[in-house]
Every structure is written in C-alpha cells, then in structure tokens.
C-alpha cells in the first residue's frame, strides 16, 4: 500500500519566543517492509539551522533552531511511504516464552545481545510488581512466546478503555494500570513494561494508522492521528509488532516512523524554547492512499 502522510504541528505562543532548539522524528524510517520514497519537513518560520542525522536506534532525526523572535511554529512533515503486508505470523509456532528468554542469555547470539537492551527499564516503561502481576496470567508455562504476547495485547484491549482525553504522554504506567483507561502510548508502554517484567525485550514503535471512514461517508481530512504500538523480539524470527489499542497485528495500514525504548526516545517533535509564555498546540495528520 502507498500512502501520503502529512503531519502538521502548530504551536501558537502567548509571548515571543527568542530562541528555540528542536528535534523532530517525523520522517518514516526504512524497514524490511517499508520504503519511504519521499519525505520533507517544512518549518515556518524558516529556521536558522537545520541538521539531519540518524539516532542510536537508526531513526531519522531533524534538528533545527529558530534564532529570531517568533510567535508561532508550524512544522509540516510530508512523506510518501510504501508498506508491504507482513508475512503471516504463526502465533502458536516458535519457542515458548521461557525458551525465548533463556536464549537471550546465551552469550553466542549477537542478535540476542542487540535485543537485550530492550529488556531493561526505560523512563516511561519500567517494570514494577503491579505490572508483573498484570502480565503473568498471559505467560502460562510453556506457552509459545507470540501467543502469550498476543494474549497480553488482547487483554489490554479488553481491560482498558480508549479515552483520548484521559492522559498526557507523561502518564506513568502504574497510573494507567490503576485507572484502566488511556491512549495508544499508554497501552504500548503498559505492554512493554509487562514484557520487560517477564524478562523479555520489547520496544516502542511510533507511526500512523490509516483510519477508514464509516461506509458511505467521505474521509475527513486531518482526522487521522499519530499512533503507537509495540514490538517484541522473538529469537529466530526477529521483531514482531502488536497493536494493543486495536488488538491486531500491524499490517500494511500501519506506517512506522521510529522506534526506541519508549516514547521519550522517539518523541515526534520536541523543543526547548526561551520565552513563549503559555502556548497552544494543534496537531493534524492526514493519511491518504495513493494506490489506484
């Protein structure tokens, strides 16, 4: 499937900002089944400095600085992405979750060594006793790893109410667990923390999901949103994505932007500003099929 994704972020400041340093992770990375033919970011006002790089996880980072007084910031990322459907995953095949965990510790597997940093706690997804208690019912003895993870993802979908008003990005996992509602970031963080509590490597994936209008109605522009899900590392298979918000395995409708240990590693747009007073923020995402 081919898409054009336009992601617009608009800040309006109550007082002039005299200096702003920003980092954007808005340009889809290349993956095994995703190619990004075209991607550009326009910034208004025009930044004094722009620099691109790849971060530690291989994500595309755009640094920019605004050095003259300004009262707004509009960042528009436009990308054309081609996503292939994933190879079918047999959830019940493959090693048990205990075997997968044991293979991680084996000193001979370079691939396992690379995955092991994702077992460790990270700022937004740390494994506590409450998280482990929630995770354990999915990890019954000898259950195949991917089946256990799919069960966890399904339980999160079932047990938690999607409530876009309910949380900010900064909601700790324990709070989400206690409140039983949240947004896609929260569900991804919870699942990641659950996997880490079981000693398994999990990472956070940020991107977009195509939303289809109800039958017979036109698609609304800007109605899409940025999305987040998680992936688990399965020995011999690699990273497998799960979308707990929608209880499905991400397919060609999921566009991947970046991945890391949690949201803090892949924040789409962050910045530190001098001045600015209070500000308002609007975000609009448009995801359009280019296929005919």
């Amino acid at each position: 499937m081919r898409y054009r994704v336009v992601h617009t972020t608009r800040y309006a400041y109550g007082a002039p900002v005299v200096l702003a340093h920003n980092e954007a992770r808005l340009q889809p990375r290349a993956t095994a089944r995703q190619a990004c033919a075209l991607s550009q970011v326009t910034i208004d006002p025009l930044p004094a400095v722009v620099a691109t790089r790849e971060d530690f996880f291989g994500n595309r980072v755009l640094y920019f600085a605004l050095q003259d007084a300004h009262d707004r910031l509009v960042v528009t990322a436009s990308s054309e992405v081609e996503v292939a459907a994933p190879a079918p995953v047999a959830l019940d095949a493959g090693p048990s979750w205990e075997a997968a965990r044991a293979r991680l510790a084996s000193p001979d597997e370079a691939e396992a060594r690379a995955a092991r940093q994702f077992v460790l706690d990270s700022p937004c997804a740390a494994a506590g006793a409450d998280v482990r208690a929630y995770a354990e019912p999915s990890f019954v003895a000898e259950r195949p790893l991917l089946a256990a993870v799919a069960d966890l993802s399904a339980r999160i979908h079932r047990d938690f109410r999607f409530d876009p008003e309910s949380t900010t990005v900064a909601t700790p996992v324990s709070e989400v667990l206690a409140q039983r509602h949240g947004v896609c970031q929260d569900f991804a963080h919870l699942a990641i923390a659950c996997l880490r509590a079981m000693g398994l490597p999990a990472r956070y994936v940020s991107g977009y999901l195509e939303t289809l209008p109800p039958p017979g109605q036109p698609r609304l522009q800007g109605a899409d949103v940025s999305h987040a899900w998680f992936a688990v590392h399965a020995p011999g298979i690699g990273w497998v994505d799960f979308d707990p918000t929608n209880d499905l395995l991400p397919d060609e409708r999921h566009v991947t932007t970046a991945w890391g240990r949690d949201y803090a590693d892949v924040t789409p747009l962050k910045g530190v500003i001098f001045g600015g007073g209070a500000h308002t923020l609007e975000v609009a995402v448009d995801m359009v099929r280019l296929d005919d």
Binding site: H21, A51, A65, Q67, R113, R116, V169, V272, F274
Partner: protein, 834 residues
C-alpha cells in the same frame, strides 16, 4: 632506648599504634619506613608545640584564601573551612613511577572503552561486554553516540581513587570521569603546606605541581581547536551552592577561564556563546563541572535547569570542545571492573597494571551465586548511584534485611555489584597534639593532550575522621592531606606563568562580563556600602545610647535612632508607632540591627548579602580582597552582645575601607570595576539621603537635630570644623552633605561620579542605555533645584525633595537591572515526557 627504632623520630612515634593493616609510615615491627625518616626527624625537631602552631597557621591561610567546601543538607553552616592535616602523605619516587604507569594505562583503557561506546559500538556486539553492563548504567548517553571527541580525546580528564591493600599493593576503588573534582584542592593544599613547612618542603625534594597546572592549560588549548588566537574557555559551574564551588572559582582563575553558569550561555548557529554586556562572545571549549546528563535539556535530561539546549548539537557539529565529553561518566561504572583485565588484553594487548578492588557483577550467574553466598562480607552497590540507591555493608544488615537485599538482587541482578571491603591503609595524622593512624584514600589526577596523559605528581589524600572509621569523605568530616612524591633530586622551582612558546597576542579580553556577573558585582558594591552606612550610623547611635549616665537626658538620641531605622530601612523600628517604647529600651532593637541575620537591613544581613553576591563572582576578586571579605564575615559572628559592639564596628569599618581600597586600587578599570563602583555610588547616595531624612523630619526645629552626629556619621566633621569652626549651622551642614562637589560623601558627588561611570557603559541597546542617564539628569536637577540663594533651609520642601531624589535613584537601579542584568531566561520544554 629501644633497639628497634632509630633515635630521632622515636618520641614523635611514641604511642603511634597502627592496627593490623598496612601503615604508610611504619613497618609492622614499628620501625619507620625509610622514606619517612627525614620527615619524622624534621618534625621531631620542630616539636609538637611548633607543629600545632604551623597547623593553626595553615588553617589561617586556608581561611584567608577562602578555601571552603559546601556540605549538603546542612542549612546551619553550608560552607565549611577545608580541613588540611599538616602531615603530608609521602610516596617514594620509584613507587610513584609504577603508580603513574598503572594510571596512564588505565586512563588509556577507559578512553578506548569510551571511543568504542560512543563510536562503532562493537564491544557489546563482539560479546566483550554484556549489554546490561553498558545500558543499565545511567552514564551511557545514547544521544552522545557519534559525537566527535574534542581533539580526538574522549577522556581528557580522569581521576582514580586509590587504596592500599594489606599486602602493600595499591588498587583502584573507583574511576572518576564525569567532572573529576579535587585537583584544585590538591593545588591549594600544596600552596599552604609549602608555606607553613618551608624548609621541610624544600629539603624533602618534592615533585612540584605547577607543571600539571600548565598541562591543564595546554590541554584546554590543544582540545579547543586549532584557532590561531587564544581559545576562549569557560568553566561551567552549577553555581555557588555546589559542594566544590571554591574549586571551580580557583581553577577558573588559575586556568584563565571565565566562570560561567548555564544562564550565561546560549547555543546559536551550532556554536556556544557567552552572553556578555558587549553581546555574545563565542566559546571554544567548556571545562564542565556540571554532570553530563544535566548539560543539554534538549537531548539529555529535560528537567535540567543547569544546561544549555543545543549544546550537544554544537559538540556534534565539532564547534565546541566539551571537557569531559557529556557521555564520559559511562566508565564511572563499577560493573565494568570485573571486565577490565580482559578488555585490557583485548584492546591494549597488555595485562592490567593497576588492579581494581575485587568486584562481582551480579548479572553474571556465577558471580551472583558467590555474592549471595557471601553477602555479609561484601559491600553491595547499585551500579547506577544516581537514584536513591546507595552502597550497603552486608555485615550491617539484619537477617531479614539481608534476605530483602538478596531478593532485590535476584529481581534485577544486572543492577548490582558487590565489592570486597578493602582494609584501608593508615597514615599518620596530627590529632590533638600527636600522631595517630587514620584510614586513607588517595585521589590521583590525569590530564590528556593530543599526545597522551600526564599524571599530577601528588594528589588529594583524605583520611577518616575517627580511628575506627573506614569511610573517607568530606561530606562526613574527613580531613585532607597534601601528597608528597619524593623526587630523587631537587626540581627547579617553576611558577604558573611561564614564558609562552609563541608570543601571546595581547589579551584585552579577560573582561567578558555576563549580565549575571554585572548584577552580582553591582550588589557587591551596594551591600558593601550599605553595611558601611549602617555601621556608621549605628556606631554613633550606640556611642550615645550606651552612655548610661547621659543617654536618658540626651535630647538628640531619639532623632539619631530614628535615623538608624531610616538608613537600615528596618521599618517601623524607631520611626513607627511603637517608637516611644523602643526608645526607652533600645538595646534589643539595636542588637538585632547589628547581629540578626534574618533581620533585613541589619549589618549582619548586609554582610551576608555581600558575601553571597561576592561568592557568586568569586573568581573576580584577588586573594587579598577575598581575605578581607572572609575577615568581614567573621567580625560579626558570635557572641551577639553590645558590650564590645563599638570596637567591632570600628574594626568592621576598617575592613570595609580595606575592601573599598583594594577594589579601587587593584581592579582594572573594566566593566567589572564599573559595576561594583556604580553599586557603591548609588548606595552611598541613597544612604546619605536616608540619613538626612531620618534626622530632619519635616518641620523639625534646627535645635532638635544632632548636627554633630550628622557630621560624624557622614565623616565630615573635620572638613566642617576647618571651614566653619563655629557651631553647627543647618545650611552649612546641608551644603556639605548634599551639594558640595568636593566632598566625596556628598550626594552630588555620587551623582557626578555615576554620570562619569555611565559614560563607559556599553552593551545594552541605545534606548535602554538612555533610561538611567535621563533619570540621573533628573536627579541632578532635583538636587540643584533645592538650593535656595542663601543656602538650603530646613523646611518641609527639603524632605519632599529628598524623597523625590530617593525615588529617582531607586529608579536608576531598576533601569540598570533592565538594561544590563537581564539573566538568560529559563528555558521551557515544549513537551514534557517524564
């Protein structure tokens, strides 16, 4: 006579009873080690009384140099005098060579580790390091991967804490790579000890430290880039509240750096800039004493208020050298220690020369089993000490506590190490008039340039405060020692200033004044003057109030006390509704106005504020000036009674005069002096007006004003008597105090001085610059308008005019703040993540 000891040192060592462990000074049999004999004999020659005297002399010097450190969680005395033992630690030349070799090898190894972690990152992939060792330690900063090292050096500064094991071999207790502290204290210790034991120091052939200081300068120059001009280096400090702030100021001044805080800096165009009064000035290198994680709120800790957003990007662009680089603390990780021998063989092809303290990383299954079986004998540490977690001594735990610890380790084994408890060696320490053995740790310092490492020939030795304590830390009352590495032959004396290899371009800079610094200098001037004004008026009031026979009948005392309230600004005081009662028994109020640090306007309050403002710009004052500031602080300590207050006020005024004289005579006439002087002039004008308003209330009868006291407080008696001889004439006194352009304490004199000082101010925008000048013109006009043809009259308009003048001067202060003291605003995050 005992046969086992040579005769001379024996008395001094009588009663010196080291425990079973290794003692630095005496052999197990009790005989002094050969390299201590000369020192012991010389100390014996001095005798205990003289040695005690030298120790006091050392303390005096340290106090006068203002050598302090801050103790956290200690609101009472946040700044403590640096404790120095008069007995140095001695290390023979041959042993030092081996130590040096081991330290250089270790620094090279740790630097190779950093090169890999922040470069190709292959050690983990090749299986030489378990991923958890690297990634579970907060020092490893992913954003720093790929950032080029300044001058190719990832570990320009390195320090290691050494301890001596019972077999006499040294081992490394811990590695310091973040922003190693202590080198400045070591230099200061040497400065002091070489002066209190001059002949002993000279004859002991001690390796000199100044070459290391030169090495640090060379390192900064080499790593700051290949600019033709002298590089601009700042020393980044968290501020005066930091534990080792003294050292930051000391090193900044020794190394010729600008002492800067985050608010003084900004990144633009991927360059780092210092905000000065003249505008932005580019910075080539940062010697940082702020932890790396706090240095850039864009890419590292977003909650940091000590950082400069964009700093890491500037380093990534190769346009600023960060020393050390922001990710360097990745090697301050005790979990690395068990892997160093193998890494040394793999990366250097050499065996590790200097062993680490025996360490088990619990992430390894065998090590974990050992640790869990031997908890009681070990020290258990979280590998990341940044959080609330701390080291625990296994033997100090109850059985349930030990069980709980074992469970915590089992749950997150990779997060813990266990270490052997090294029985520290003891070194002779001067305690209560004799030598006693105390456990010691030695911190050593290394600095790199493009070619390699140099080791400071010496270091900072710290000893435990009590005989049985094995914890050696300044935070817990430890004492420091100078470290004498004994050369086989004397070295030439070398100072810090050496002839430059190339002629240095004439440096007219060294004058970068950030707004924060201008602000603090301005207030240093104001508070010094305020303390003086308060002291002068209080001295006169006390003189009359303490004359118990005359005071009850002194018709002028109430007016004088009223003026005390006006000058100190401690309203309502003697000017409020409660005045009659206070005037009847003024002692408590006077005592408060002298000594109460919490009473705004008191002398003590002004002195504290003066100390705070001066401390914040400590590197800007000479040692002599700092000595006077230190003496000022002590003058108004305990006891807080009025008995000797007059003498103390006399001494205080002398010290303030010394401070004023030093700044007048020894500060170059740049912007710093200018702001200090503006503060002083403005305050003197304000205080002079306040005194007159206090003494001459609207409608007062001339006879009710204590004119003699007015002249005494204004230090104008002599001039007045010489001119007028006759008794006090209000018009003549007012002329002298307000309008006489030749009287350096008159108000008009201050305004004329300010006018000249404003001429030299640059920097701020033209519109801002005109504000204080316009106000000053108005003030001069106001002052001149008050002079009637026959001289000033003591009428109602005088007080009104002085009131307006006061407001104008206060407005000038505000205008200066707007134009020059604007601090860098606090940055804010667009997105709050954690």
């Amino acid at each position: 006579m005992s046969e086992t000891r040579p005769s001379a040192p024996s008395d001094l060592l009588d009663g010196y009873r080291p425990g079973a462990g290794y003692d630095e000074c005496v052999e197990p049999a009790g005989r002094p080690r050969a390299h201590w004999e000369y020192l012991l004999r010389a100390l014996q020659g001095l005798g205990p009384l003289e040695l005690g005297q030298r120790r006091r002399e050392a303390r005096r010097m340290l106090r006068e140099h203002g050598v302090t450190y801050n103790v956290y969680d200690d609101a009472q005395a946040d700044e403590r005098l640096w404790p120095l033992d008069p007995i140095p630690l001695l290390i023979p030349s041959a042993e030092w060579q081996a130590i040096e070799h081991g330290l250089v090898q270790r620094a090279e190894l740790l630097e190779l580790l950093l090169d890999d972690l922040y470069g190709d990152h292959t050690l983990v992939a090749r299986g030489l390091l378990p991923p958890e060792v690297v990634y579970a330690h907060g020092g490893f900063a992913r954003p720093c991967v790929g950032v080029p090292a300044p001058g190719g050096r990832n570990l320009p500064l390195y320090a290691a804490d050494l301890a001596r094991q019972p077999d006499g071999r040294l081992c490394v207790l811990g590695d310091r790579a973040q922003a190693p502290s202590g080198a400045g204290y070591a230099l200061e210790n040497r400065l002091v000890l070489a002066r209190v034991l001059p002949s002993l120091f000279r004859d002991s052939h001690v390796h000199r430290l100044p070459p290391f200081l030169r090495r640090l300068r060379a390192m900064l120059a080499a790593l700051a880039g290949d600019a033709d001009e002298a590089p601009h280096v700042v020393l980044l400090t968290p501020g005066p509240g930091n534990e080792t702030y003294f050292e930051h100021a000391f090193l900044a001044s020794e190394l010729g750096c600008t002492l800067a805080q985050a608010e003084d800096l900004a990144v633009r165009d991927e360059r780092l800039w210092l905000r000065t009064l003249e505008g932005l000035r580019p910075v080539d290198a940062v010697l940082r004493r702020v932890d790396g994680a706090f240095c850039d709120p864009l890419e590292l800790r977003g909650d940091s208020l000590l950082g400069t957003p964009g700093l890491l990007q500037a380093a990534r662009a190769g346009r600023v050298a960060l020393i050390n680089p922001l990710g360097a603390s990745a090697v301050e990780n005790p979990a690395l220690l068990p892997f160093l021998p193998a890494l040394s063989r793999a990366l250097l092809g050499e065996d590790l020369a200097l062993p680490s303290v025996a360490t088990w990383w619990c992430g390894d299954a065998d090590a974990r089993r050992y640790v869990l079986a031997h908890l009681a004998e070990l020290v258990i540490k979280p590998i990341d000490q940044h959080g609330s977690a701390r080291s625990v001594f296994g033997d100090a735990l109850t059985t349930p506590q030990r069980q709980a610890l074992a469970e915590r380790i089992a749950a997150r084994p990779h997060a813990f190490v266990a270490q052997e408890r090294v029985p520290l060696s003891t070194a002779p320490t001067w305690i209560d008039g004799r030598l006693e053995p105390r456990a010691m740790v030695l911190r050593t310092f290394l600095a790199a340039d493009r070619d390699g490492y140099a080791v400071m020939p010496g270091g900072l030795c710290r000893v435990a405060p009590t005989p049985d304590s094995l914890v050696v830390s300044n935070q817990r009352g430890g004492v420091s020692k100078d470290v004498w590495v004994l050369a086989s032959e004397p070295e030439r004396e070398v100072g810090v200033l050496v002839p430059a290899a190339h002629p240095l371009p004439v440096e007219r800079g060294g004058q970068e004044v950030p707004g924060r610094v201008a602000d603090n200098l301005f207030w240093t001037g104001r508070y010094a003057e305020r303390a003086e004004s308060a002291a002068r008026v209080l001295r006169e009031a006390l003189r009359r109030a303490l004359d118990l026979d005359a005071a009850p009948f002194d018709p002028h005392l109430p007016m004088l006390l009223r003026s005390v309230t006006f000058v100190t600004g401690a309203y309502p005081g003697f000017a409020g509704p409660n005045a009659p009662a206070l005037l009847g028994a003024p002692d408590a109020e006077l005592r408060a106005l002298l000594f109460d640090a919490t009473r705004q306007g008191s002398v003590r309050f002004a002195l504290d504020a003066l100390a705070r403002a001066a401390r914040a710009v400590r590197d800007r004052f000479s040692t002599d000036t700092w000595r006077v500031l230190g003496a000022l602080q002590r003058e108004f300590g305990e006891p807080l009674n009025l008995d000797d207050a007059l003498e103390r006020l006399d001494r205080l005024l002398l010290l303030l005069a010394a401070f004023g004289g030093l700044s007048a005579d020894s500060m170059s006439r740049g912007q710093r002096w200018r702001f200090l002087e503006i503060g002083r002039r403005l305050e003197r004008g304000l205080d002079g007006i306040a005194m007159l308003r206090g003494l001459c209330p609207p409608g007062v009868e001339p006879a009710a004003v204590p004119w003699e006291s007015v002249l005494v407080v204004a230090d104008a008696s002599i001039t007045y008597r010489r001119r007028y001889r006759a008794s006090a004439d209000p018009a003549a006194v007012l002329d002298l105090l307000l309008d006489d352009e030749t009287n350096p304490r008159s108000v008009v004199f201050q305004l004329i001085q300010l006018d000249a000082l404003f001429d030299g101010l640059g920097g701020a925008s033209a519109a801002e610059r005109t504000a204080e000048r316009a106000l000053l013109r108005n003030a001069l006009a106001e002052l001149r308008r008050g002079v009637a043809p026959g001289g000033r009259a003591l009428d109602r308009t005088l007080d009104e005019s002085l009131g307006r003048l006061q407001e104008l001067l206060a407005a000038i202060s505000d205008a200066l703040a707007t134009a020059y003291f604007s601090r860098g605003a606090r940055p804010q995050q667009l997105v709050r993540v954690v």
